[in-house]
Symmetry: C2
Subunit: 202 residues, 2 copies
């Protein structure tokens, strides 16, 4: 049963017993999105926070000049959506698009408030989740400030080899803050360097 993945993820933060498992489970919503569907859109209040069971997504926003900027790529076992919109229940500014057929487990804002009361340990669990998200986001930004495009890609590929396989390169380029063409050139450069290091095989 797929809900197990979300609850197991929460177990990384707080212990969850059998009874609590049952209560949480009954307040989850399973949702399916086909490739190209939007899980969140600009201007909407995000009613749900979403955990990816299967598939992949990109979270991006569109600036005043119409350009897209991807701020999160997500595959299985990642939380996703417009988190600031969800936690504040204000209109969001982000699009979340399924990059392939994707299953998510979602918790509605109202159900989460209920769960805070019925399973008090979740209060702590979600605070830790937010803190974690904030800290890793900041860490990622700091890292990107100090690295050039090639180093950003190498770091990404090392940290998330599964994503590098699964997600189209133009989206990875946008996530890493570079043009698709430039990422292509970087990959060529890396490969040709590897060939030289090994030596021409003749």
């Amino acid at each position: 049963m797929e809900k197990a993945l979300l609850i197991n993820n929460l177990r990384n933060f707080v212990p969850i017993g059998d009874e609590e498992y049952r209560v949480i489970s009954s307040h989850l919503t399973e949702r399916h999105f086909s490739k190209g569907d939007f899980i969140t859109k600009e201007g909407e209040v995000n009613r749900y926070t979403n955990f990816i069971e299967k598939g992949s997504v990109r979270v991006y926003y569109i600036d005043y000049s119409g350009q897209e900027h991807i701020i999160q790529l997500g595959i299985s076992d990642w939380w996703t959506g417009d988190f600031p919109s969800f936690i504040t229940q204000q209109k969001g500014i982000l699009y979340t698009e399924a990059l392939e057929d994707t299953d998510v487990s979602s918790i509605s804002y109202d159900n989460l408030q209920l769960l805070y009361r019925e399973v008090p340990v979740l209060e702590r669990g979600f605070r830790l989740l937010i803190q974690n998200a904030y800290a890793s986001f900041q860490y990622r930004i700091l890292q990107n400030l100090s690295l050039d495009a090639e180093q950003r890609y190498i770091t990404f590929r090392t940290a998330y080899p599964a994503m590098d396989q699964q997600i189209p390169q133009k989206h990875i380029a946008s996530y890493l803050g570079m043009s698709a063409e430039f990422l292509s050139k970087i990959k060529k450069r890396i490969v040709s360097r590897q060939r030289n290091r090994t030596g021409p095989s003749k």
Copy 2:
């Protein structure tokens, strides 16, 4: 009495009565830092979260190549420090430096845990504080991705005229992700454009 500023700030998030005011007040620590002092340093666990009563600070980190990157500038009425380190009580990676003689009200991690129990509404208050910080940080990053250096400076100057006055330009440049020299050139460009728009006065 200076502690009022911190508590008034919390009142933006949750109501705080007289008795609660007294309890919170008794768990605050007033600290003074002289120009150039460090409020936090890389490698240290941040015992305190800090609210600036008077003065100014910069929060930055130093990358592998020795370059500084400022991620926050703060003046009166701002929370500051290495927040991820404080909330996780893990070693931090950020320096927080007083740019002039600065007074802060601080809450230690232990006192904050006490306060959560004695003034339960703070549980909600600080969750909102973190959410807020996360949301604004993300918003700032998004904005910077879509603007060029000149637009970033103009946006900054419009949003925080007080900081633009109070804080040395080289720090503003670093905060905005550009070299000090380039910010100088940008300012010259802006001024000369303003002259042209007004027309030469002859």
